[in-house]
């Protein structure tokens, strides 16, 4: 066990990726920032004493407290409070958790769907491939935001309103995921077409390995690199898409605000001097997306897959 770990560790340490990683300050910094954000968001209960979504713990009289370093700031609200007296930092972290959950789930959904379709399409070819690829074409015809809006609109129409609020987050994940899967399908199909013609696949076929095993044991690991790059960039896109939808008011309900919702709500206070209510969620969102993009960019350069 120990030796196995060691070899894995050695493998990582010897790899080009690791070398390139420690040579790239941007990659390191963005990774650290992301780790901090992920940690704080997912363990927010332990990071901050406040729960902004327990209405009984809030006091409206705390509302509009500016950040602690300003004149009227209070030490207990580091980044100040919003119009309902919620601690901004806690609100942002809870919001970021929702954004991240939506982002990750949407990307995973898109990834699983896209890779499964792209892999099988590339592998089997023929009519099936044509249909899948036409489908991606049609899907790409509808840009992501529009697709998400449509899905949301339809969901509003067919799900009852009470259910809709509960379902909103799933609808959102589905909406964003469904608009991103063609990317994964295209990339994994293209990669599969390359891999499929490599001799190791032929070798396995000749040995008698079944198609399913060839696809998932042999081809899948080999097409993961470009898929991961797309996935990373897709994560940033999904988070931004979620924020945008929430900003437009068709995202998650305001009772469980994501970063986009927070920016939308805070936007009303942009001119009134309570800049922190919109500024901090916005800057947080930008830092989050920027870090993911930096990492994705570095991955793209390092793994250097041909994305198109």
């Amino acid at each position: 066990m120990a030796s196995k770990n060691l070899t894995l560790f050695n493998r990582i340490r010897d790899s080009d990726i690791y070398f390139s990683f420690i040579k790239s300050p941007t990659a390191i910094v963005s990774t650290i920032i992301l780790l901090i954000i992920f940690f704080c968001s997912f363990f927010v209960e332990f990071v901050t004493p406040y729960n902004p979504f327990d209405p009984s713990s809030l006091s409206l009289m705390d509302a509009f407290t500016p950040p602690s370093w300003t004149e009227d700031g209070l030490a207990r609200f580091i980044l100040g409070t919003d119009g309902q007296g919620r601690d901004m930092l806690a609100t942002i972290l809870y919001g970021s958790r929702i954004s991240l959950i939506v982002g990750f789930s949407a990307v995973i959904f898109a990834l699983v769907l896209g890779v499964a379709l792209g892999l099988t399409a590339g592998y089997f070819g023929g009519k099936y491939e044509m249909i899948v690829m036409r489908l991606t074409d049609v899907q790409l015809t509808v840009p992501s935001i529009l697709m998400a809006l449509l899905v949301d609109g339809i969901a509003r129409g067919i799900i009852s309103r009470e259910l809709h609020d509960e379902m909103a987050i799933y609808v959102l994940i589905f909406a964003i995921g469904i608009s991103e899967w063609p990317q994964f399908a295209r990339v994994s199909r293209a990669a599969t077409l390359v891999e499929k013609n490599k001799d190791y696949v032929s070798a396995s076929t000749i040995i008698g390995v079944s198609n399913l095993i060839i696809m998932f044991k042999h081809i899948l690991p080999n097409i993961l690199r470009p898929v991961l790059v797309i996935g990373t960039i897709g994560l940033a896109l999904a988070i931004i898409a979620e924020a945008t939808l929430s900003f437009l008011g068709v995202g998650v309900p305001p009772t469980t605000p994501s970063l986009g919702t927070l920016i939308r709500l805070g936007n009303d206070f942009l001119f009134s001097g309570e800049w922190w209510i919109t500024f901090f969620p916005a800057i947080f969102l930008v830092i989050l997306a920027f870090s993911i993009n930096l990492l994705g960019d570095w991955m793209r350069d390092t793994l250097n897959p041909k994305l198109n």
Partner: protein
């Protein structure tokens, strides 16, 4: 021909989706009448609207109407959708065209620059900014611009189209100073996100082309670097830009929803977002069909452009036809 057929198929699929929207998302009758309408009246209305006909007849009627641009009456605004759309079409088209122009021209220029000067300081700056651009949601940029240019500096308008001039059915903001000023912030906001994409794509394309054998061979022949970059590499690099431009315009139309919301631009996106919030199905389905139509047209134009620009496709097509 094949292309045309495919386009028609795409349109039909989209038409079917929007038709389904109409029929299966909520009861269209309920959406049209008040609660005090009696059941008899409802049945009568259902009959006159042809909602009792078999589904394929309804669908073909929908297609016929859609091709005439008729999508019924908006549930929310109580006006014919075709009228609403045609009223707001020019605003969106003008915004999208200007944005596409900004995104394509500056994106390509910067992309080529960074692709050629890979290690330069300026390139690094451009790339960092472009990455930031991808990370900044459009609405944040919009708010920032309004705050900076309209409120603090007071040099550019923050909303609307300014003065418009009607030329036939088309209302344009291009012919007045206020119209031109009004389009600056929304179009720049809208184009930024796309521009950063184009920068990165063109850069990657340029870098890849500069690695190819034919560029190396051109170098070996002593062709000067300028010609290599701007003639040999650029022309090859521009081929994918056409595709990008096509997708770009479509995406811009979609993203104009956000920009139009932030800048209160009286276009279709603004109409659409309100329709979504209100579940105003006629507008939603009309918008969907419209977008699909635009995309199909763009794809078609892109194909034609390819034919003219890429000799490999042109010669093949000629060989087949001749």
């Amino acid at each position: 021909m094949k292309r045309l057929f495919q386009s028609a198929m795409v349109m039909l699929v989209v038409a079917f989706v929007s038709f389904s929207l109409f029929n299966f998302v909520g009861d269209p009758i309920n959406n049209m009448v008040g609660e005090e309408t009696s059941d008899e009246e409802r049945a009568e209305l259902r009959d006159t609207l042809g909602l009792t006909d078999p589904i394929h007849i309804q669908f073909s009627r929908f297609v016929v109407n859609a091709s005439k641009g008729e999508f019924g009456i908006s549930y929310q605004l109580r006006r014919p959708v075709s009228e609403l759309i045609s009223e707001r079409l020019p605003a969106t088209i003008e915004l999208v065209l200007i944005s596409a122009l900004i995104a394509l021209v500056s994106g390509t220029l910067l992309g080529v620059y960074t692709g050629i000067n890979r290690k330069g300081f300026l390139s690094d700056i451009i790339l960092a900014i472009s990455l930031l651009g991808v990370s900044l949601p459009t609405f944040v940029i919009g708010i920032l611009f309004i705050y900076l240019f309209a409120v603090i500096l007071g040099i550019l308008p923050s909303f609307g189209r300014g003065e418009v001039v009607n030329i036939g059915f088309w209302s344009t903001g291009f012919l007045t100073l206020s119209g031109l000023k009004a389009i600056i912030l929304p179009s720049v906001t809208l184009s930024l996100f796309q521009m950063t994409y184009i920068i990165r794509l063109v850069r990657a394309e340029m870098m890849e082309i500069l690695q190819t054998d034919y560029i190396k061979f051109a170098r070996a022949r002593g062709i000067n670097e300028k010609s290599i970059h701007y003639k040999h590499a650029l022309k090859n690099g521009l081929i994918p830009v056409i595709t990008i431009a096509g997708i770009n315009i479509g995406t811009l139309i979609a993203f104009s929803i956000i920009t139009e919301t932030v800048f209160q631009w009286p276009g279709m996106g603004f109409l659409f977002i309100q329709a979504v919030q209100f579940v105003d199905i006629p507008i939603m389905s009309a918008y969907l069909v419209f977008i699909a139509f635009v995309f199909v047209m763009i794809n078609f134009i892109v194909d034609i452009l390819y034919y003219f620009i890429d000799p490999r496709i042109r010669v093949k097509a000629e060989a087949v036809s001749g």
